[in-house]
């Protein structure tokens, strides 16, 4: 039985700042992290694969390679990384799907969303790629004696899937990795494949500021209706309505 967890190395939104001079988000200076949702996929892959280990397939900026090694601390027995220099907003899925296609795992796990692009479609594409089914909102899973996979979902229900299958894992409590395990992980060997050019029909045109720092507006007016209209205007500016 072969297991694969896909790991997207993304920019930490908390460290992205607004460059007032260039009037754009300063993404280049932001730190790299393992996509939080993909940490859940690593955790579940580790539980399912146990001692036999699993392959972690990572994708992201070349400078994020050291962060990807965290997968070894979760029990990944092999680490494959597709690295690129350009902004990873385009083509990440294509690159990951290409890498998974080469591995042909029985179970592929991915985080339900990606924090940089809100990508929630990867697991579905993985299932189709493997010629099997996929399931989202997964918080746990176990292999059954009949060779199927029983997925526990966030709402408490279960889904039985024939293999091969892909799971979109949503937030589950990943165990705390000990400092010693993290230190060992930094010495893990990673097979790195640089990606020169993304294939596809899409090019990134612009990245604009979305949500600037939150600035509270106090509405303490006598005219409640006028205050409500003001609030709605502000919420529309923030695209909340």
């Amino acid at each position: 039985m072969r297991f694969a967890a896909v790991v997207r190395i993304v920019r930490d939104p908390a460290t992205i700042t607004w460059d007032r001079v260039k009037r754009r988000l300063d993404v280049d200076g932001a730190a790299f992290i393992v996509n939080p949702s993909d940490r859940s996929a690593l955790e579940l892959a580790s539980r399912l694969a146990g001692a036999q280990g699993f392959v972690a397939i990572g994708c992201g900026h070349a400078a994020g390679l050291s962060v990807f090694k965290e997968a070894a601390a979760f029990g990944a027995s092999r680490l494959l990384y597709r690295s690129f220099e350009a902004d990873g907003l385009v083509g990440t899925q294509t690159v990951l799907l290409g890498a998974v296609a080469e591995e042909r795992p029985d179970v592929a796990l991915a985080g339900q969303t990606a924090i940089d692009t809100n990508d929630g479609v990867l697991a579905g594409a993985l299932g189709e790629l493997l010629g099997g089914d996929s399931c989202g909102d997964v918080v746990d899973a176990k292999l059954e004696a009949d060779g199927s996979l029983l997925a526990m979902l966030e709402d408490g229900s279960t889904r039985r899937l024939a293999l091969p299958a892909a799971l979109a894992v949503c937030r589950i409590a990943a165990r705390k990795i000990s400092p010693l395990a993290m230190m060992k992980a930094t010495r893990a060997t990673v097979a790195v494949t640089p990606v020169e050019q993304f294939a596809g029909n899409v090019t990134l045109r612009t990245v604009t500021n979305g949500v600037a720092r939150r600035r509270s507006t106090i509405l303490d007016e006598d005219d409640a209706a006028a205050a409500a209209f003001t609030a709605i205007g502000l919420l529309r500016e923030r695209r909340a309505l």
């Binding site: 939104p13 992205i16 988000l25 993404v27 932001a30 899925q93 339900q112 924090i115 940089d116 692009t117 809100n118 990508d119 929630g120 479609v121 697991a123 579905g124 594409a125 993985l126 299932g127 189709e128 099997g132 089914d133 996929s134 399931c135 989202g136 909102d137 892909a166 979109a168 949503c170 596809g200 029909n201 899409v202 090019t203 990134l204 045109r205 990245v207 604009t208 500021n209 979305g210 949500v211 939150r214 600035r215 509270s216 507006t217 106090i218 509405l219 303490d220 409640a224 209706a225 205050a227 409500a228 209209f229 003001t230 609030a231 502000l234 919420l235 923030r238 695209r239 909340a240 309505l241």
Partner: protein
């Protein structure tokens, strides 16, 4: 498929296309101009034809495919965003929206059925919630389409290109992508009216909070029973000392606090704060919210 094609109804066999073609890629067959495979797509024939009988094949196909936007609209929560986006795109491009219901089943079965039902559509929109986002991925893989999640806007240009805007970097930015003409596009969209009303510790605000939740068609919960996913719009009815609510507020697009005293930790997490007359303010907000 050649790069240009000829409309048999319009062609009057003037032969000007034959004279214009620099690579002799046009013949006359059965009284109609026919384009051969060695066409280089220079469009000299298109410019020369007085009957406008020759068009670019890709554009022609893209326009035909964009006669409609397909919205996959299952019953239940989360579907509204997909239909709203499909309608906005269709309105802007002069196309119509075809709604496809789903009967359940596995993601794979649904993708198989949808690939048949939406085979001709250039754009398919699905809700950005599980399992439809998995379905979007599976469908795109099956159709060879480009797929994008949590899309805010889609603009379709006359030449068949799409511009797609999505939220990026955990809500810090928006990215606009250009999608080539002729490419099929599968997107997921979240409801713009994705809201949540959270009750704090002030029991007096419950009735007005429920009224507001009904007006927004939104769920409500107590501050100690928060969901994992942040809503687009978070309404806080009364102060709460839990740190989880403040954390959820940082991930919501917009936060409105009613009855939150100035100086309270939650006040700084809100875009709009109504510190006083919270019940009256909530009722006024419920009355005018679009």
């Amino acid at each position: 498929m050649t790069l240009v094609s000829v409309s048999a109804e319009r062609c009057k066999t003037h032969l000007v296309c034959l004279q214009a073609c620099p690579v002799n890629a046009i013949d006359i067959f059965d009284g109609v101009a026919v384009v051969r495979e060695n066409c280089i797509g220079c469009e000299a024939c298109i410019k020369a034809c007085p009957e406008r009988a020759i068009v670019r094949t890709a554009e022609d196909a893209a326009n035909e495919a964009f006669a409609e936007v397909v919205a996959v609209v299952p019953a239940g929560a989360g579907a509204r965003g997909a239909l709203d986006l499909a309608r906005r795109v269709a309105e802007g491009a002069g196309a119509s929206v075809r709604r496809l219901p789903l009967d359940g089943g596995t993601v794979r079965d649904a993708a198989q059925q949808l690939a048949i039902d939406a085979a001709d559509a250039a754009l398919v929109v699905l809700p950005a919630v599980a399992p439809y986002d998995q379905l979007a991925g599976a469908l795109a893989q099956r159709l060879g389409a480009t797929v994008m999640s949590n899309v805010e806007t889609v603009t379709r240009f006359p030449d068949g290109r799409f511009a797609v805007e999505i939220e990026t970097h955990g809500g810090r930015g928006y990215a606009t992508f250009d999608v080539l003409a002729g490419a099929k596009l599968v997107v997921t969209a979240r409801s713009k009216r994705d809201a949540l009303v959270v009750f704090g510790e002030d029991a007096d605000l419950h009735a007005a909070g429920l009224e507001l939740a009904r007006a927004l068609d939104a769920p409500s919960c107590a501050a100690d029973a928060l969901p994992n996913e942040a809503p687009r719009l978070l309404i806080i009815a009364g102060p709460s000392n839990g740190t989880q609510l403040a954390a959820l507020a940082t991930r919501a697009k917009g936060v409105v606090g009613f009855g939150i005293p100035l100086g309270h930790e939650l006040a700084a997490a809100c875009d709009v704060v109504f510190p006083n007359d919270a019940i009256e303010a909530m009722r006024a907000f419920a009355a005018v919210v679009p």
